[in-house]
Symmetry: C2
Subunit: 332 residues, 2 copies
């Protein structure tokens, strides 16, 4: 296994230690595995929390900060955070006006966040949940009933986070999160499998000339295994899947992310983004904003995902709002 690590058991703790040292804007509770903002918001606001298995960095801890998350609960690699951990994070960021949980649609995450929400409710904390299920590749999957939650999580966290920062209510923040999820679709392609530190071997075998089309961010099977094709053809396949699920009309405005799955270099992501921009432009669809880089990774998987959000005026405004996190930073 070719990884920088000390032991598989200490992998998450060691990474959180590094994260704490790198980002003075974060407070990292190593025992409870909770990442919060180092600076308390200047006025009470709705708390926004997310979490899930580790191995998808910068998701979620890299999105903790002004204008985005109040806390992240990282589980072990590809393993849900536990209810106590989520409850502790919920209590840590509740300022009396409620907390919103952003949950990617994986069975373990859904169950543990739900349990934490019930425990928090018992303690009098108002909790709303936003379920992210944007991956159009397959209907059900290895760890998921319904669609998997992937790239749109970044859009939900940014846009709901901006609304929370503006002082919106817990119901308004949750409604906006759901609106962004409903407006977003993703599709991913893997060129190689990823290897978890615990197993030490790739999760699946992909021959030298093949790709997994519609892969999940834990290496879950997609729609088909196909011969590797050109960047333009791969983008065409992904956009067909996305746009047949959510048609876009000329003059629609979008936010587009071309996301690396961990082992794909930026220059290849730019090649893909060029093809996406070209294809959308051919249909008269505008890209108002974009992200190209590693945002929702899958350990050391070579591959990429495309996420498209159909954005109304309010979504665009909230996207533009100032944000100050390790992985997204603008306007301040």
């Amino acid at each position: 296994m070719k990884k920088f690590l000390n032991t598989p058991d200490s992998f998450l703790s060691d990474a959180l230690t590094g994260m704490a040292a790198a980002h003075p804007g974060l407070t990292v509770d190593l025992d409870r595995k909770i990442v919060t903002r180092a600076a308390e918001p200047q006025r009470p606001k709705v708390g926004l929390i997310s979490g899930g298995g580790s191995g998808h960095e910068p998701l979620h801890s890299g999105f903790v900060g002004f204008g985005m998350l109040d806390a992240a609960c990282p589980g072990q690699v590809f393993t849900s955070p536990v209810p106590d951990q989520i409850l502790a994070a919920t209590k840590a960021v509740d300022r009396g006006v409620g907390v919103v949980h952003v949950v990617k649609n994986y069975t373990g995450d859904v169950m543990n966040f739900q349990m934490a929400a019930e425990l928090a409710a018992d303690e009098g904390i108002l909790v709303e949940t936003v379920l992210v299920d944007d991956d159009v590749a397959v209907q059900d999957s290895t760890y998921t009933a319904g669609r998997r939650g992937t790239g749109a999580t970044v859009f939900v966290e940014k846009i709901a986070g901006a609304l929370a920062e503006n002082g919106a209510s817990v119901a308004e923040v949750a409604e906006m999160g759901r609106r962004v999820n409903a407006a977003s679709r993703s599709f991913a392609v893997a060129l190689t499998a990823c290897t978890t530190p615990a197993s030490g071997v790739p999760g699946f075998h992909l021959p030298d000339d093949e790709m997994e089309v519609g892969v999940g961010i834990h290496g879950e099977p997609g729609r088909s295994r196909e011969k590797l094709r050109s960047a333009a053809e791969i983008v065409s396949t992904a956009l067909d899947a996305i746009l047949s699920d959510q048609p876009l009309a000329p003059a629609d405005e979008t936010i587009v992310m071309v996301n690396g799955l961990g082992a794909t270099p930026l220059i290849e992501l730019y090649v893909l983004f060029g093809e996406v921009a070209n294809a959308l432009s051919g249909k008269g669809i505008a890209i108002a904003h974009s992200l190209v880089g590693n945002y929702v990774t899958s350990l050391d998987m070579a591959g990429a995902s495309i996420t498209i959000c159909r954005a109304d005026e309010q979504i665009l405004q909230l996207w533009n709002a100032p944000v100050h996190t390790p992985a997204l930073r603008w306007g301040m």
Copy 2:
């Protein structure tokens, strides 16, 4: 070859097309392969240019923008930009007060930048050159007489760029670039080789349990090939190499970068950074600022580099100054 691309021949053009679509703050001249700022500086300032072979993204084009570079000249993958291209960029950003070239120490780059500087001088443009040679791994290397230029390039471009933005003269900007280079040291370790699109096969073979210690950013051999060890031991080897070349004393302040070479996920870089922070803290050395992520890559190489700059008050101030580029953005 498992890459997102259309054809090896169109790889750079396709990537630049994507970069232009992704970053409205950049103007990309696809014919001449020059990337400049879309917005002209508000007052005449020294032009700061860098360039080199592609495959190291975000270096250099991702560092074009306010507070950093005025232009980048990307060559083909791992191939120097040509003198005409560098000359055109130099002329494009000369505002009558001169231009500084930041050149990584590779024979082709040095030769072509020098030729461009002479041609520019013939046209009456004042050009100063800053040579970056921070890699302590080996004295001479495959494409280099003397030390290779690697991670410190980011520090030089950021800090000299901030000084240029403040209205400093061409001599002052160049002197600051040289000062930052002289204060910086790097060391890299590869877990896998990278594959160029043109060759289609890995540049070297590394057995499953071995690493290349002191590797260059084109896969040049390092000091030794060794059995893979723990993150803590790898960091210890790298820091020994760096600190034996440039001793640091307790109370010294530093800027530290833990940089991914392209295929190493962020969570592993945080593990490494945690070890670096721990080791420096044990020696009483302060990390004033840090970068953890992919900044100077080597296509799809799995590996990482560590760069340490001993920073005085002025360097720290210039590091903190506002910057607005695709890959570094803060303070605005």
